[in-house]
């Protein structure tokens, strides 16, 4: 029973093969290096880095985060070093360690997204691009793509045309029908969809009687949103043929397995990295042990099993 003592963990996301399904969620793992003291970065399925824009962004004024029951709200506002500094300062480190790197990108227009993709096409050591069309904290247009299936389709199509990299589109949960969005980007040529980004939420201080976040609203993440994320993955899995990356409140191997059973070919660990910087490694180990214990030789066997 060799397969069971060491089950196969490698998964495919369309053209992209990964050694295992445990990825990090953009914006919760810095540029990867921040977690070097805590996890073997090259041992992860892939590192998805903080959302990158064409030019550096300063982000929103503080306060930017607030804790909520079993979750947190963030309104970072996509502070990032910009694509040039990312390619020159951040990427080489990850490439040299042998990490697979997925670059999460954000623009204010179709053109910006395309220029970002073109820049990353040339960069060495990028495994895939993840289009963030769903960040609720940038007012200038990014959000519109994620809430409108026609715009999402157009954006996917346009970036698809210029991309030589596998293209993942990350969906927003703040919509009436996420299946519709997923189908739109599938038709637009996405190789995979990742979901969910954060739910829009807010907090108010009873002391100051004002919103806690300077940006008023923020994105809700963490265990609180897991049931919603899982449902959306399950729902989308019934409607598209491209692979799904499950995201939302994953902090333990059990959470990860739930998403895989719901239909996710891979998962991303987000807020849990803050709570336990070793979370990704623990989840990976837990999935392996689960498969062994259940006598399952290949993680691919259980993708979507709860739907059958």
């Amino acid at each position: 029973m060799d397969a069971v003592t060491s089950p196969n963990l490698s998964v495919r996301l369309g053209p992209l093969s990964l050694p295992n399904p445990v990825l990090t969620a953009s914006g919760t793992f810095g540029y990867g290096r921040e977690y070097e003291p805590f996890v073997d970065l090259a041992g992860l399925g892939a590192v998805v880095v903080k959302g990158i824009s064409l030019l550096p962004r300063a982000g929103n004024p503080p306060p930017r985060i607030v804790e909520t029951p079993c979750g947190m709200l963030n309104a970072i506002g996509l502070e990032n070093v910009g694509v040039e500094r990312f390619v020159s300062d951040k990427l080489p480190y990850l490439r040299e360690r042998g990490c697979r790197v997925i670059v999460n990108i954000l623009g204010d227009s179709v053109e910006e997204y395309c220029r970002l993709v073109e820049r990353l096409n040339e960069a060495e050591g990028v495994s895939a691009v993840e289009l963030n069309i769903s960040c609720p904290n940038v007012k200038r247009g990014g959000v519109a793509f994620g809430a409108n299936e026609r715009l999402a389709h157009e954006l996917t199509q346009a970036t698809r045309r210029v991309s030589r990299l596998p293209l993942i589109v990350k969906l927003s949960p703040n919509v009436t029908d996420i299946g519709l969005m997923a189908r739109a980007v599938e038709e637009g040529g996405a190789d995979a969809v990742s979901l969910i980004n954060t739910l829009i939420g807010m907090a108010i201080s009873v002391k100051t009687r004002k919103p806690v976040l300077a940006n008023v609203t923020g994105g809700l993440s963490g265990p609180a949103i897991k049931p919603v994320a899982l449902r959306m993955v399950y729902q989308v899995a019934g409607q598209v043929r491209i692979p799904i990356i499950g995201i939302g409140g994953i902090g333990t191997w059990q959470d990860a397995v739930e998403f895989i059973l719901a239909g996710a070919s891979a998962i991303q660990v987000g807020t849990a990295n803050f709570v336990n910087p070793g979370a990704t490694a623990a989840i990976l180990g837990g999935i392996r042990a689960y498969l062994q214990e259940q006598g399952i030789g290949d993680v691919n066997e259980i993708i979507g099993e709860a739907r059958r």
């Binding site: 004024p61 079993c70 902090g251």
Partner: protein, 263 residues
């Protein structure tokens, strides 16, 4: 920087809402510098979710370190219930640390006094020739007494201030500075306490030309510059290209002139 489970080797209830834990964590203690902090997962569940940041209060020779904290909300309440022998998950040491100077005035307010003990300890151990002035303030004697107690072991005699006059100067700890430091320009201040106090100290220092380091607190999710949640605005005079500073890595200790102080 490490993540580890540290057993609690001692638990002291210094006042009804003030607890000091001694944690055996040689791997973290070894590299720790005054001003740095730890993040602690306060309990098993998801509520509260986030780790809690605490300054390193003291490092003990056997590889232990101490945190001193006030019981405020769910996280500290849960930490306060822990017993000797139980373990907590630590990440640290995090952030930067206080720079040492030949003449240092340490100004602490309330729980901000916690990290100053470590700083005073380091100065005594590694630069005993340093001139030290120690100014400590709190709301009242009851609050101040346990915080001020351990400095005597280092041979330091603090000047004290309480808001209600129950111990030392009746007023703010800031009031003590001019008298303690006079007109000398060599003094460098290391300050930790409530924001308004640090702002006042920073303003005074600027006026007198004293360099001033302050230790800030903000909400933190990660403590390791991954979330970018702990942003503070830099002084408009500082060249950052519009970028924010991040307390968990650029701080928690800042030169007061590098910050944009908010009213």
């Amino acid at each position: 920087m490490q993540q580890l489970d540290a057993p609690i080797t001692r638990r002291e209830q210094l006042a009804p809402d003030l607890v000091r834990l001694t944690l055996l964590a040689p791997a973290i203690a070894a590299g720790a510098r005054p001003g740095q902090f730890l993040t602690i997962k306060s309990g098993p569940g998801h509520d509260p979710l986030l780790r809690r940041p605490f300054s390193i209060h003291r490092v003990v020779a056997d590889g232990s370190l101490q945190v001193l904290f006030k019981v405020l909300g769910p996280g500290t309440r849960s930490l306060a219930r822990l017993k000797v022998g139980e373990s907590v998950n630590l990440v640290g040491p995090l952030g930067n640390y206080f720079q040492r100077f030949p003449a240092m005035c340490l100004v602490g307010g309330g729980l901000g006094i916690a990290p100053l003990l470590f700083l005073a300890q380091e100065i005594r151990d590694q630069a005993p020739e340093t001139r030290i002035e120690l100014l400590l303030g709190a709301r009242n004697r009851q609050e101040l007494a346990p915080l001020a107690a351990d400095f005597a072991d280092l041979g330091l005699t603090p000047r004290l201030a309480t808001d209600d006059g129950s111990w030392g100067h009746h007023g703010l700890v800031t009031d003590l500075i001019p008298q303690a430091l006079g007109a000398e320009r060599d003094w460098r201040i290391g300050c930790c306490g409530p924001y308004p106090m640090m702002r006042a100290v920073a303003a005074l220092c600027q006026e007198r030309g004293w360099g001033c380091q302050v230790s800030l607190e903000t909400m933190m999710a990660c403590g390791i510059k991954a979330c970018l949640g702990c942003a503070v605005a830099p002084s408009p005079r500082r060249e950052t290209g519009g970028r924010y500073l991040h307390v968990c890595q650029d701080g928690p200790v800042f030169n007061s002139e590098d910050l944009a102080w908010t009213p």
